[in-house]
């Protein structure tokens, strides 16, 4: 696999916060090529004067009264955290 291609994929992986080891990268590069070639059909279309469709629902903003409603308790919010104490999510030291 050429170095440019590997670097390009590593750049996208960086943006996506993913990491591939050398073996995964090999398999992935081939599949990614095929996927890009396939969706490349899109590039060929002449859609100069067509307005993009952003969403199929054309509703306006949906508002509600600005009144506090019941939300998660601290214990509930922490219930699924991989590491936490009574009040905080725990992460490794940020400042060295």
């Amino acid at each position: 696999m050429n170095q440019d291609k590997t670097d390009a994929i590593k750049d996208v992986a960086d943006l996506a916060r993913l990491n591939f080891d050398a073996q995964e990268l090999e398999v992935f590069a081939l599949q990614f090529d095929k996927m890009l070639e396939y969706v490349g059909v899109i590039e060929q279309l002449d859609l100069e004067n067509v307005e993009p469709l952003l969403h199929v629902v054309h509703s306006e903003n949906v508002f509600r009264e600005d009144v506090a409603e019941k939300s998660l308790s601290t214990a509930e919010a922490l219930a699924n955290a991989p590491k936490h104490n009574d009040v905080f999510f725990k992460v490794p030291k940020v400042l060295k």
Partner: protein, 470 residues
């Protein structure tokens, strides 16, 4: 298959508790199908007991005693909701999805959470951290995906009905492969609140059942405006159960696709398709040919837009607040957790989505795909000015063998050829069992209608299913 309609006719000779135990027995006998990830046995039996009391008192609710399975990307308070991913293997929601609340309030009994392709990404149900789901008629074949477990739960008699999600065909395609009804309503008819997001402008909850009657009952109970989902349509809950019992109108028009858009279908599917057209003709339909523009771009446009939305939606899995965490320095936690927590197909789609959104490629992929989406949307609108429904196969082939396409993403994506356009346009679509292949595998046909015409679509589907007599 065991239908809710039959069960209702068997009351009071049969109790809901007995029915629940029968289903649990069937689930345990058919464990090798791997349709369920988590069972809800105790709660189900309690709910069934309550249903029996209500039947005895003569005050049943609209879905009283209906045994329902939920795809495992629909949040259930206190019952783990895994998305079939290592990332959420131990995730237990603190609240219910709106649909789970609606089902309970209507008297339905949730029997368990079904297996699926990880994060609803796949067309074969082979991408699950809990293992693949097998086709109920032949374990060497896939049941379809991504809502494969839900389709199998209904087809193999393990629930009266099931909910799944349909982003590009994930309800209709497995319904067709397994020989059940699979309905994707118009975008916005059913609240997505509490459904783990994949591609938010496409995702829609869908319904599996043996027949259109039960499908309609559920649709009526779970549809309508929900303040927890601001994209829900500003329409009252559906009243389709009354509509589906009506006969077909005297004059109606069925649109079909031109031959060149059906080229990818194999002979088994075309055979059932041609016979189905005869059914429409003898029911008095006027048949016309209609074209949805740029059929070569349906799947590419869908995959560009859906993966872009997925890459953004799945950015929330950072290994810190919930989900799997892999130990490491602060900088590494997110990368390590995501790299080990997500499976191969999910990573492929996040990568594609990130790529098409990255600077330099945005206009040529994402912008173009949004424009193609407009043409497809407009194309459907003009078809439904002239036709009541569009009739087409649900899938180009019947169920395929396990392992056949798992390492070839593009081949896998092609099995969504006939289903993605309805999601691109936000219109309702339903797959109805219509026949079988020479090898005895089910073949489904699809009906589509104009946006928000869900009730009438189900009426046509009911008439078609009864005429096809499957």
């Amino acid at each position: 298959m065991k239908s809710y309609e039959e069960f209702l006719r068997s009351i009071p000779q049969k109790s809901c508790i007995d029915e629940t135990h029968d289903f649990l027995g069937e689930i345990s006998r058919k464990q090798e199908l791997n349709a369920f990830i988590t069972l809800n046995e105790e709660n189900a039996v309690c709910a069934a007991a309550e249903s029996d009391v209500r039947f005895a008192d003569g005050r049943p609710r609209s879905l009283e005693g209906m045994i329902v399975a939920l795809k495992d990307n629909i949040a259930t308070a206190g019952i783990r909701t895994t998305c079939a991913s290592k990332m959420l293997e131990n995730y237990v929601p603190v609240s219910n999805a709106s649909v789970a609340d609606s089902l309970r309030e209507s008297g339905a009994v949730v029997i368990g959470k079904t297996n699926m392709d990880e994060f609803a990404m796949g067309s074969s149900n082979e991408n699950s951290v809990f293992g693949a789901v097998a086709h109920p008629l032949n374990a060497d074949y896939v049941p379809g995906g991504s809502s494969g477990g839900s389709a199998v739960a209904v087809a193999a008699g393990m629930a009266h009905a099931a909910l799944g999600t349909d982003t590009g065909g994930s309800v209709r395609q497995p319904a067709a492969f397994c020989g059940v009804v699979g309905f994707k309503p118009s975008y916005g008819r059913i609240s997505r609140s509490g459904v783990v997001a994949f591609a938010s402008s496409f995702d829609q909850i869908g319904i599996f059942a043996p027949d259109v009657y039960s499908t309609a009952r559920i649709f009526d109970a779970v549809s309508g405006r929900d303040r927890r989902d601001s994209t829900t349509a500003d329409l009252p809950p559906a009243q389709s159960f009354d509509t589906v019992r009506r006969p077909l109108p005297e004059h109606f028009t069925v649109a079909t696709l031109p031959d060149d858009q059906l080229e990818g279908c194999d002979e088994d599917v075309m055979c059932v398709y041609r016979r189905s057209l005869e059914i429409w003709l003898s029911a008095g339909a006027k048949i016309m040919t209609a074209t949805i523009p740029h059929s070569e771009a349906w799947i590419p446009a869908y995959y560009v837009l859906a993966t872009a939305e997925a890459s953004s939606n799945l950015a929330r899995f950072d290994g810190i607040r919930y989900g799997c965490r892999v130990a490491g320095d602060y900088d590494d936690i997110t990368v390590a957790s995501r790299s080990q927590g997500f499976g191969a197909e999910v990573k492929r789609r996040i990568m594609l989505g990130t790529y098409v959104l990255s600077s330099g490629y945005y206009d040529s992929y994402f912008g173009k795909a949004q424009r193609a989406r407009r043409l497809i949307y407009d194309g459907y609108a003009s078809i439904f000015e002239k036709a009541d429904i569009l009739f087409l196969p649900t899938t180009p082939t019947p169920a395929f063998r396990r392992g056949e396409k798992i390492n070839d993403p593009v081949a896998m994506y092609l099995s969504d050829y006939f289903t993605v356009s309805a999601n691109l346009a936000g219109i309702p679509a339903v797959s109805v069992p219509a026949g079988e292949s020479a090898g005895g595998m089910p073949v489904g046909m699809q009906l589509q209608a104009r946006r928000y015409d869900d009730e009438r679509l189900l009426q046509f589907a009911r008439c078609f299913q009864e005429s096809a007599k499957i």
